[in-house]
Each structure stands twice: as structure tokens, then as C-alpha cells.
């Protein structure tokens, strides 16, 4: 018998908002995030991002939209081990054809913003701490100036201090870049650091609360 991961969800997220999807395991929070990220299929309904209805796009068009407009931070970092820090961050630029002087300069500036500039540009992921690798992953998501950054449990592999530092970094990005961010977390204290918490249970939104 098929199980609906999310049901009857109607949600609007504004530009520049930092929203957390929260809920217990199996609540549908990651599914909702992945559907917005066009990684998981939507069986019914529509998703509109920057006035564009994206659910009706073909697979190739969705991939292209994802490449151009969405930045994804994975639960398990997922950096390329054979690329150094700078090369990992620049990968979306290569895919977009923006790996030029300007693109490289922006990437370097971003990494400086994350305190990962200078000599560390040539470091490889296995030479960095968990927190530093997470910063690289966020920088990679941010480098293409996406409409939305979607982060699926980005603190799952970090200790508490690292987790808090990551959320604070995302908040700083939101403020400094006006970036729209959607975060999935199961930690209430981390969710409380965002602007808005959307709580899901059994695939439905049970609470939608602003934190200020």
C-alpha cells in the first residue's frame, strides 16, 4: 500500500527568509525539502520558485533549473575527495560555464569569508575538520548565487559547538547576502535560531511559527 510522505501542504517562503523544517524521523521534512530541491518527484501539486512553476518541467529542465538556481547542502557533506577545497567550491561554476576570472575571484572571496582562504585553498577534504568541510559544502552551494540554499541536516555529523557555528554561519549568510535558506533539522535549539519553524508530522504541517 503506497505511503504518502507529505500530504496537503501549502506553504509560502519569502525571499531572504531563513526557514527550518522540523519534525520527528519520518515526518516528511526531508521529502519536502528534496521536492523543493527538485531531487524528489512531486506526485501532485505544484512548486513555484521565483515565479516559475518547476514541477511541470522535464527532468533535464529541472536539472538545469537546479544547477542555476538552487544550492544544496547534503547531510553527508559529499565533497569530491580528489579535488582540493578551491576546486570543490568552483565545481558548480565549471558546470555553469562561469569558471572564469570573475568566478574564481568570487570563490576566493567566499572562502575568505568562511576563513578558509590563503594556503588552505589547496587543502583536500581529508585534511579538514568536519566543521571546515561543512563550510566548504556551504560555500559550494553559495558560489553560484542561488535563489535558495537548501540544507538537509547539515549539522548531523558535527558536535554541538560545530552545529551551532554552522547555523550561525547560515544566519550570517542570510544577513550579508540576503539569501533565502531552508534548513531541515530535528534539533529544536537549532531550529529556534532560524526566522521561522515549519513543523511537520505524518507528512502534514502541524505548526508554522515565526521566531521573532
Amino acid at each position: 500500500m503506497p505511503v504518502n510522505a507529505i500530504v496537503d501542504i501549502s506553504l509560502e517562503i519569502h525571499k531572504g527568509e531563513f526557514t527550518a523544517f522540523m519534525g520527528a524521523s519520518g515526518s516528511g521534512k526531508s521529502t519536502l525539502l528534496n521536492q523543493i530541491a527538485l531531487i524528489e518527484k512531486v506526485d501532485s501539486g505544484s512548486i513555484i520558485i521565483e515565479k516559475k512553476e518547476v514541477t511541470k518541467l522535464s527532468e533535464a529542465e529541472q536539472a538545469r533549473f537546479r544547477l542555476n538556481n538552487l544550492g544544496y547542502v547534503f547531510q553527508f557533506l559529499n565533497l569530491f575527495e580528489e579535488l582540493n577545497l578551491f576546486e570543490n567550491v568552483c565545481l558548480p561554476l565549471r558546470l555553469l560555464g562561469r569558471y572564469n576570472k570573475q568566478g574564481k575571484k568570487y570563490a576566493q572571496e567566499l572562502l575568505g569569508y568562511f576563513d578558509l582562504g590563503g594556503e588552505r585553498l589547496r587543502s583536500y577534504p581529508n585534511e579538514l575538520s568536519g566543521g571546515q568541510q561543512q563550510k566548504v559544502a556551504i560555500a559550494r552551494a553559495l558560489v553560484k548565487k542561488p535563489a535558495i540554499i537548501l540544507a538537509d541536516e547539515p549539522t548531523a555529523n558535527l558536535d554541538w559547538n560545530g552545529s551551532v557555528a554552522t547555523i550561525e554561519l547560515l544566519k550570517r549568510i542570510q544577513k550579508d547576502f540576503g539569501q533565502t535558506i531552508i534548513l531541515v533539522t530535528h534539533e529544536p535549539e537549532l531550529g529556534a535560531m532560524t526566522d521561522r519553524i515549519v513543523e511537520l508530522r505524518d507528512g502534514k504541517i502541524v505548526k508554522d511559527k515565526r521566531n521573532f
Binding site: 528534496n34 527532468e59 544547477l67 544544496y72 547531510q75 553527508f76 580528489e82 579535488l83 565545481l91 558546470l95
Partner: protein, 396 residues
């Protein structure tokens, strides 16, 4: 699209540079697999060719003999030459007059398979003169010279196969079936790796005519064609132009070789196919594992925003590119081996063995190898591209 293609090439190059040993091992494995395919194919064909070429070297492509019950050919020499001149597919021919003969040397007698009377046409038709073991071939200026096949020369000296044989410069008595005896000077000893030839003696046709006290008679004709493919055509033409004698091929006097080649040839071809299959399976396994290892990369790239088709196309291309490098390295190694054994053939009892492979066969092996690599890369790339991105990325 080009930008993403460059991105994947960049990733592949960085992967190769960071994992030099793995990359080298993959290329070496593919190279050796391809090399082995070429070696198996060419050495098996070479073995078959050694058998066949040895026989064709003595009996030509087309071989004319008397009909059953006849001692000589129905056609005389001028008629034969007139007919042969009308067939452009014929490269050369040699008309023989043969007689049974017993040879005697220092009190020891041995019966040859035949004493074959030849003319200088033999030099351009058969390979008999190419395999001198001792002395020189007939000069065709004297009717007192004789060439002995190696096994015959060996049998006339002490015990057979004891590495001693009658050498050039010695005189040997030849006794015909009617008891006529003549002394010949051994001008040379040949080793053509063919039992018929090695147990025969060669003299000028005029010498045999004098011995038999006949003229204008012929026992057989060895015909060399420009292309073996024309054998059936030439046989038909000879018949239509009036040859009533038996028009056969090298298979007729080489019954044992022909039977061996037919039966063993099937086995050789089967081995070549098995070798090819083993090569294909090994190649597939190597590339399957290599591409399977890229699942995570594929998942990351898809999450970053590349389409399934692009991922499949490019990782398949990576597999094929690795195979092309393997083909180049394997071919270079094979070229060295091929050249060495072509210049330094392995001497065997049945002839000089050299690897044999045509350009068409190389192209076939390359095509099959590339097809195998294409499939071996395509399947795991497609599998990963079709999987849910989240599932791949969740794999640790």
C-alpha cells in the same frame, strides 16, 4: 553542454592524477586484456596458417594430377602453358615429371616418396628452394644434380633422426623402378617441413625424362595464384579451357594436414572465441567496478544539477576513453611481439610459425573490445543515474 563536458573531463583528470596507481592499474589491465586478445587471435591463426602455408608452399593453390588409373597428365606441356596463359589469376606454375626412386648411399638404401623432375619455374612457384639446410639448390645447368629432402638425407645416413644426414657434395645412386641406376651429385638438402617434400628428391625434368626414357609427359602441375580466393574460379576456368586431368588443390596431396586443419581448426577457432569472451568479461568487470565506484560522484553531480542522460553519456565516455588508452598501449606491445616473431619465427616440425592477423581482424577485435567497454561502463552509469539521488548520497 560543453562547459559541463569540460567539468567532467576535469573531474576525470583529477581523479586519475590523485589516484595514479589505480588509474595505471586500470589502464594496464585493459592493455593486457587487449594485448591478450590480439595474441590469442593471431597466434591461433598463425598456427593454422603454418599448417596450411606449409602445404600450399609445396603444392600451390591449385594442383593438377592424372585421373585415377592414369600415369601421366592427359595434356602436354605446350597445351598446359597455352591454357595457363589465358588465366590472369595464375601467378606462376611448375610442371613436374615424377618417378618412384630408391636412393643408395654408402651401402644404405632408402625409397623416396618420389623423384620429382622440375624446371626453373619451380623457383617462382613453390617454397622448396627457400628452405635449404645444406648446399645450394639446383642450378638447372646440369642434369647430374640432385636435391634431397631432409628426412630422406637423414634416413640415408646412419639412423634416422640422429641429427646426421647426407651432405651436399656427396654422390648418391638413384635406382628407378625398372632397375636403371644413375649417379647424381647431391647439390643441396632442403627442409620444407613437409613430409612429402622432405622424403622426396628433386632433379631437373630433363634428367628424369632421360632416366625414364620418355619425353613430353607430365605427372603433375603446381599452380600458384595471385589470390587464394580465386581457387574455385581458376579450377572452373581450367576445366572450361580443356583440362581433363584432375584439378584439385593442396588439400588433395595433404590429406592428413587438411583433415587435421579441419578438425583442429574448429578447436582453434573455439579457443579464439573463448579468449575473446574472457577478454570481454575481464574488461567488463574492470570497468564496471571503476564506474560503480563513481556512484557517489554521479549522485553529487546530479544533485548539483546535471541531467541523467548527460551523466550516463559522460561516464560511459570515460570508460571508453580508458579502453582506447588500453587499446593503444596493448597494440603497441603487440606490435613489438608481432614484429619480433615475424622476423624470428618459431621453428616447428610443421613449419616456421609466425603470428597471423589481418587489419580486418584487428578492427573486429577493437570493435568487440570497445563494445564490451561501452556496455560495461553504460550499465553502472545508467543504474546510478536512475537511482534516487538521495539514496546514492546517503550511501557511505
Amino acid at each position: 553542454m560543453f562547459d559541463r563536458f569540460r567539468a567532467i573531463l576535469f573531474l576525470a583528470a583529477r581523479d586519475a592524477s590523485r589516484r595514479k596507481l589505480a588509474f595505471l592499474l586500470i589502464v594496464l589491465a585493459l592493455s593486457f586484456t587487449f594485448f591478450n586478445l590480439l595474441v590469442s587471435y593471431s597466434f591461433l591463426h598463425g598456427l593454422e596458417a603454418t599448417f596450411v602455408n606449409g602445404a600450399m608452399g609445396i603444392f600451390g593453390n591449385v594442383y593438377i594430377t592424372p585421373l585415377a588409373g592414369q600415369e601421366f597428365l592427359a595434356e602436354d606441356e605446350s597445351k598446359l602453358r597455352q591454357i595457363f596463359s589465358q588465366i590472369p589469376e595464375i601467378s606462376s606454375y611448375s610442371i613436374h615429371l615424377n618417378m618412384p626412386a630408391t636412393l643408395k648411399f654408402e651401402g644404405k638404401s632408402f625409397s623416396a616418396i618420389s623423384m620429382i623432375g622440375i624446371t626453373s619455374d619451380e623457383l617462382s612457384t613453390s617454397t622448396v628452394a627457400n628452405n635449404l639446410k645444406d648446399g645450394q639448390f639446383l642450378s638447372f645447368t646440369s642434369d647430374d644434380e640432385i636435391i634431397l629432402g631432409f628426412d630422406l638425407a637423414d634416413a640415408l645416413k646412419d639412423f634416422p633422426y640422429n641429427m646426421t644426414f647426407v651432405h651436399a657434395g656427396n654422390d648418391v645412386e638413384v635406382i628407378s623402378a625398372s632397375g636403371t641406376t644413375r649417379t647424381f651429385r647431391i647439390r643441396g638438402v632442403i627442409d620444407s617441413k613437409n613430409i612429402y617434400s622432405n622424403f622426396s628428391a628433386y632433379a631437373t625434368k630433363a634428367a628424369v625424362e632421360r632416366f625414364l626414357n620418355i619425353s613430353g609427359k607430365n605427372s603433375e602441375v603446381v599452380i600458384r595464384l595471385k589470390s587464394e580466393k580465386d581457387t574455385n574460379l581458376v579450377q572452373e576456368r581450367l576445366k572450361n579451357l580443356g583440362i581433363t586431368s584432375y584439378i584439385g588443390t593442396w588439400r588433395d596431396p595433404s590429406g592428413y594436414i587438411a583433415a587435421f586443419v579441419d578438425k583442429v581448426g574448429f578447436f582453434f577457432r573455439l579457443m579464439a572465441v573463448v579468449s575473446l569472451l574472457v577478454g570481454v568479461v575481464v574488461t567488463s568487470a574492470i570497468l564496471y567496478i571503476h564506474t560503480e565506484r563513481k556512484r557517489r560522484h554521479i549522485g553529487i553531480l546530479r544533485a548539483l544539477g546535471t541531467s541523467k542522460n548527460f551523466i550516463v553519456g559522460l561516464y560511459t565516455a570515460e570508460g571508453v576513453a580508458l579502453s582506447i588508452v588500453g587499446i593503444i598501449v596493448g597494440s603497441a606491445a603487440y606490435a613489438i611481439v608481432y614484429r619480433y616473431f615475424t622476423l624470428n619465427p618459431i621453428e616447428t616440425l610443421i613449419g616456421d610459425f609466425r603470428p597471423v592477423i589481418s587489419l580486418g581482424q584487428v578492427i573486429t577485435v577493437v570493435a568487440i573490445f570497445l563494445l564490451a567497454t561501452l556496455i560495461a561502463s553504460l550499465l553502472p552509469a545508467q543504474s546510478a543515474a536512475r537511482e534516487r539521488i538521495k539514496k546514492i548520497l546517503a550511501e557511505r
